[in-house]
């Protein structure tokens, strides 16, 4: 069995590892809800991580890194928008292309700037987003059960973690309670309805892709300036795809997306502690199996064995006016 302290450690790690997944997943949610498939979350995160790591190293400010990360991610989002909205190209192929472009160009730029084998220099002090101790964490620490949970798991993360989790209710509110959200959902279901209502399909979709860019920027910046101390090549390691899997798993709903990301983050946390897993299930579980678990679960969801995932109806289809 797992003792309480170990459980808290694993949960703490879960939260940290779920954060980039959650940001990327919410990023994908905006884009896909607007009818633009985006398998380029990975590339945008990577570009943002590199830009954030580089800018933070050069300026010594994590916030400058964050802005740079968002900027880099927005450039890739804009490219995806031009290819898939303006020129009605294949959204899947565009995503694949941009992932490669990002994978290569991040190393090139990092190498050109720092000459450290495609890495950015290690970040310290204010160049990183440091843990925040939430109010009362110290005081409540000694209350049994809840105290340590609050102190160890909830408190003590960087500001970006709290931002990520507060974007969940915000996204729900935007989608279902605002004009923008109504139009965004409509454009992903039936762009012709939006067009004939006199609202620009192109502008809406670019706005959605832009939000995707910003959120991927946050995700990438978190990777380089909070989760780790600097950028390393391929540091996102498939997280963009796990986020995509979480999005499908959550059936494109914001709150469910949070739970999916927490679940997948939990698997990642377990993969770091095979000893804990073995102690709990009494069998040696290969680490690669834990690594593969999010993907296996997503395939099961896609296959309809665990509920049916119906994507937005106009997803992946470029909008062409009918005669």
């Amino acid at each position: 069995m797992m003792d309480y302290a170990t459980l808290l450690q694993v949960l703490d790690t879960t939260l940290r590892l779920a954060t980039p997944l959650l940001l990327a997943c919410l990023a994908g949610l905006y884009s896909e809800r607007a009818g633009i498939f985006d398998i380029g979350l990975e590339g945008k995160m990577l570009a943002a991580a590199m830009a954030a790591g580089a800018a933070a190293a050069l300026t010594g400010s994590a916030w400058a890194g964050l802005l740079a990360g968002i900027g880099a991610s927005l450039v890739f989002a804009a490219l995806h928008g031009v290819a898939s909205i303006t020129f009605r190209g294949n959204q899947l192929i565009s995503g694949v292309a941009l992932n490669f472009l990002s994978s290569g160009i991040t190393v090139l730029v990092a190498q050109a700037l720092f000459r450290q084998g495609g890495r950015t220099p290690p970040l310290t002090g204010n160049a990183r987003f440091n843990p925040i101790t939430l109010p009362g964490a110290e005081a409540l620490r000694d209350i049994p059960v809840i105290g340590p949970l609050y102190y160890e798991v909830i408190s003590g993360h960087s500001i970006l973690v709290y931002m990520a989790f507060s974007i969940v209710p915000l996204t729900w509110w935007v989608l279902f309670r605002t004009r923008f959200g109504l139009r965004l959902r409509a454009v992903g279901e039936n762009p012709a309805a939006v067009d004939t209502a006199g609202v620009s399909v192109v502008a809406l979709r670019f706005a959605a892709v832009g939000i995707t860019g910003i959120l991927c920027g946050l995700a990438g910046a978190y990777m380089a300036t909070a989760l780790q101390a600097g950028f390393g090549r391929e540091m996102t390691a498939g997280r963009g795809y796990i986020a995509l899997a979480a999005l499908i798993f959550a059936k494109w709903r914001p709150v469910a997306a949070m739970w999916a990301c927490l679940l997948f983050g939990f698997f990642q946390a377990l993969a770091l502690r095979p000893d804990v897993v073995q102690a709990v299930v009494q069998v040696k579980v290969p680490v690669p199996f834990l690594d593969a678990l999010p993907y296996i679960l997503t395939v099961l969801v896609l296959a309809g064995f665990v509920g049916k995932a119906i994507p937005p109806r106009a997803g992946g289809e470029p909008y062409v006016k009918e005669r």
């Binding site: 398998i39 031009v82 290819a83 020129f87 290569g104 199996f289 993907y295 395939v299």
Partner: protein, 367 residues
């Protein structure tokens, strides 16, 4: 809008796309303070400036022909198989199991058996996404991506915990028996006059070229190919014609997976002679670029595979002789996919403008 003449569509569109990719690559090099001209010289010298360089270029091209054909076959049936990478890795597993199973007496027998093993394992790995797409409507792009990661995890597990010989540190299978060694081009009489030094390019090249012909014949000369192409163009019409969607989806993906798997006889059997982690090294993904660049035609695929072979060997040379990181080749790869795949419409629009201008000049000249 004016239509483009056929030759422009077939030849000019990919060439212009390539030109765009080259220009942007040059700009990237300039931006990181490197000389594009210098870089190109290094690439050309290293990749095609000597028989030795060609030996590498052809080696890479061999793998890319397989994966390019894999993507092409699926494309024609309206399926985007991003899973070539995972299928190639599983193909590698098939090759390893075959090669390690017997003390092969001669490489020809080993090649036949290993090819079958590679195709079988690659096809098997494509079969599950194919079944899920055909029977349960699960999007093949997403499932094949997931299967790439599952394949990677599976191979890590097998190489660390199962196939690794006792006492060996690195996660890899045992070395294959001598009888399973494929002749490299420098071992083949006639070719050894050109390739005097040992090169990785091997007899698999001829298997790849043979498969290009086979794929062409299947697609344009058989009922199966006819049905695949019809299904790929219009599922609704295929239903009207009585073409079984489940059967076609599964067969197309099995063929695609088999082709992707077969690349492993080139790298695993022909070069490494044991199964390593991440043996396919991204060749499965390059297949996407190769298929797009080659306009989904086997001849185009072979030419595009050569081009990417050049890019890969040239890129490696850049990493060796200059301060340009080897990742430059991934940048070019991404740009080629972007321009030939996603910005295809833009390239066409530009060409149509040019042709329109040309025509009006001509008309004015006549008048």
């Amino acid at each position: 809008m004016d239509r483009l003449p056929r030759w422009a569509d077939v030849v000019l569109v990919p060439l212009i796309s390539l030109l765009f990719a080259a220009i942007i690559s040059a700009l990237v090099l300039l931006a990181i303070g490197q000389s594009p001209v210098e870089a190109f010289k290094v690439m050309a010298t290293g990749a095609v400036g000597s028989a030795y360089g060609w030996g590498y270029t052809l080696y890479y091209a061999t793998s890319f022909i397989f994966t390019g054909l894999a993507v092409t076959v699926a494309f024609h049936a309206g399926l985007f198989n991003i899973g070539g990478e995972g299928q190639a890795q599983l193909g590698g597993l098939g090759v390893a199991l075959v090669c390690l199973s017997l003390p092969w007496p001669h490489w020809t027998l080993a090649l036949l058996a290993a090819t079958a093993g590679a195709a079988l394992f690659g096809a098997a790995w494509a079969a599950i996404p194919a079944y899920l797409q055909a029977k349960r409507g699960s999007h093949i792009v997403i499932t094949t991506i997931m299967f790439n990661y599952i394949a990677a995890a599976l191979l890590v597990y097998l190489l660390v915990d199962v196939l690794r010989p006792a006492g060996q540190m690195d996660p890899a299978s045992a070395r294959f028996p001598v009888g399973a060694k494929l002749p490299a081009l420098n071992d083949i009489p006639g070719f050894d006059l050109i390739f005097t030094k040992p090169v990785p390019a091997n007899v698999t090249l001829f298997v790849a070229l043979g498969m290009a012909v086979v794929v062409w014949a299947i697609l344009w000369r058989t009922r199966l190919g006819y049905q695949m192409r019809a299904f790929g163009k219009s599922e609704a019409a295929a239903k009207y014609a009585g073409i079984n969607p489940v059967r076609i989806t599964i067969i197309a993906m099995l063929l695609s997976g088999a082709l992707a798997g077969m690349m492993s006889i080139n790298n695993v059997m022909g070069e490494a002679e044991r199964l390593l982690q991440n043996s396919s090294e991204g060749a499965g993904f390059i297949g996407i670029a190769v298929a797009l660049m080659g306009r989904n035609h086997p001849i185009g695929v072979v030419l595009a595979a050569l081009l990417f072979g050049f890019l890969y060997q040239g890129g490696a040379e850049l990493g060796l002789w200059t301060s340009i990181p080897i990742e430059m080749r991934i940048v070019v790869q991404g740009l080629v996919i972007l321009f030939t795949g996603a910005l295809d419409v833009m390239v066409r629009m530009i060409l149509q403008r040019i042709f329109g201008l040309f025509r009006s000049f001509k008309a004015a000249g006549v008048a």
